[in-house]
Amino acid sequence: MLPRNESIGVSEEQRPVSEGRRDEAGRLGPGADPSVWEVFRQEKGGDPMRHAGNVRAPDRELAMHYAREFYSRRNESVRMWVVPRTEISDLSDPDLLQPPLDRSFKKPGGYVMRDKLEIAKRRAGEAAE
């Protein structure tokens, strides 16, 4: 069986640079800088959480304070998430993300919809009359 983190046929140099090794669960784990916290923020209710950037802090409490000062001191957010980088699951394996075979048949652009759409519209129009 292959080791979990070893991709097939791609040399280490071709992989995107990742910080440190991942553990069995895919977490950056001890390979990541434990003092770095990734910060996400929501600009207004209903918006998705977006990555804002990161801060360096010795613990969770100060990380929250610094996240607030760096990414929301001018009322830019209604919610923030602060996550230790060591807890991030990192997926950068080219076998999983960038396989070499042609995938164009998986893209919606592979189907020509225009004519079918025209016919469907016409049919819907007739039904309405």
Binding site: P58, L62, H65, E69, R73
Partner: protein
């Protein structure tokens, strides 16, 4: 820059400063509120400039940004308090902030101490913020509505400041060795001086009788001592010593050397050209 056609050099913080009729207040009460506002404005103004001395040299980049932001918040609070006072007295907030002589400032003597090291700064700031929190709480339901309104807003920011400062006091104060030793020695020097925040104010009784201030400064000092001591003891640090607030806690007939230095710094631009517009 021109001194011709002088327009007001500043804009009021319109949304933050409620409109009101100053003439509806009894002159005695109006003077007492003005005195209270000046003491609070000067406190926030001086601590704001003290903190801004750390810009660029705080222990780490993140703290540098955070602490500078706290300093800006305090200057913002000072601005509100100066403007509210000036709405009562008809003075010019800029002149009040930047054009008085050192002996005319009314901030607590606790804030005269120079910045010194990081542990000293954190300890002083924690003492001031805990005392300020007690004072603000005593004004939250002031019968003079514009003050109560401003205090509600300021308290929401001060809550965060206190969390930030308390986090640092805990880390330094419980870290055995040098940091804890420095906090202990700063507390020994500063805890008695912190009572100056509660120095009696001229017209204080008028404020209490009119329901502006919910208790006398001496009572607030006791409240603060008991709260601050509980927290300090939880961190295995020294309690606040007994004692009444000093009557001259805001007097500076002989201004402290360190404050005169700071005053020279924060008035240096304003003194460059009288009446200049920016």
């Amino acid at each position: 820059m021109t001194t011709e056609a002088r327009r007001p050099t500043r804009q009021l913080i319109e949304p933050d400063l409620p409109a009101f009729d100053a003439s509806a207040l009894e002159p005695e009460l109006r003077a007492a509120i003005a005195e209270l506002l000046l003491s609070m404005a000067d406190d926030e103004f001086v601590i704001g400039f003290r903190d801004s001395e750390w810009t660029g040299i705080a222990p780490m980049l993140e703290e540098d940004v955070a602490f500078s932001s706290l300093a800006q918040d305090e200057i913002g609070h000072a601005r509100l308090f100066y403007e509210l006072r000036c709405a009562l007295t008809g003075e010019d907030p800029d002149r009040l902030a930047f054009h008085r002589q050192p002996h005319e400032y009314r901030h607590a003597q606790l804030l005269d101490w120079p910045r010194q090291g990081w542990a000293f700064t954190i300890t002083r700031r924690w003492l001031y913020d805990t005392a300020d929190a007690i004072r603000l709480a005593a004004l939250a339901h002031a019968s003079f509505a514009p003050l109560a309104e401003v205090v509600v807003k300021v308290r929401r920011e001060e809550r965060y400041h206190l969390m930030h400062l308390d986090a640092w006091l805990e880390r330094l104060g419980t870290h055995h060795g040098q940091p804890r030793g420095k906090v202990l020695s700063a507390l020994k020097q500063l805890a008695p001086a912190a009572l100056s925040v509660f120095a009696p104010l001229p017209g204080e009784q008028v404020l209490v009788d009119a329901g502006v201030l919910s208790a006398s400064m001496a009572q607030l000092a006791d409240r603060w001592r008991s709260d601050a001591t509980a927290r300090l003891c939880a961190l295995n640090l020294r309690p606040i010593p007994a004692g009444a607030p000093p009557a001259d806690g805001r007097d500076r007939a002989q201004p402290d050397e360190s404050f005169v230095w700071l005053w020279n710094e924060f008035t240096s631009v304003a003194r460059l050209e009288e009446g200049a517009q920016w």
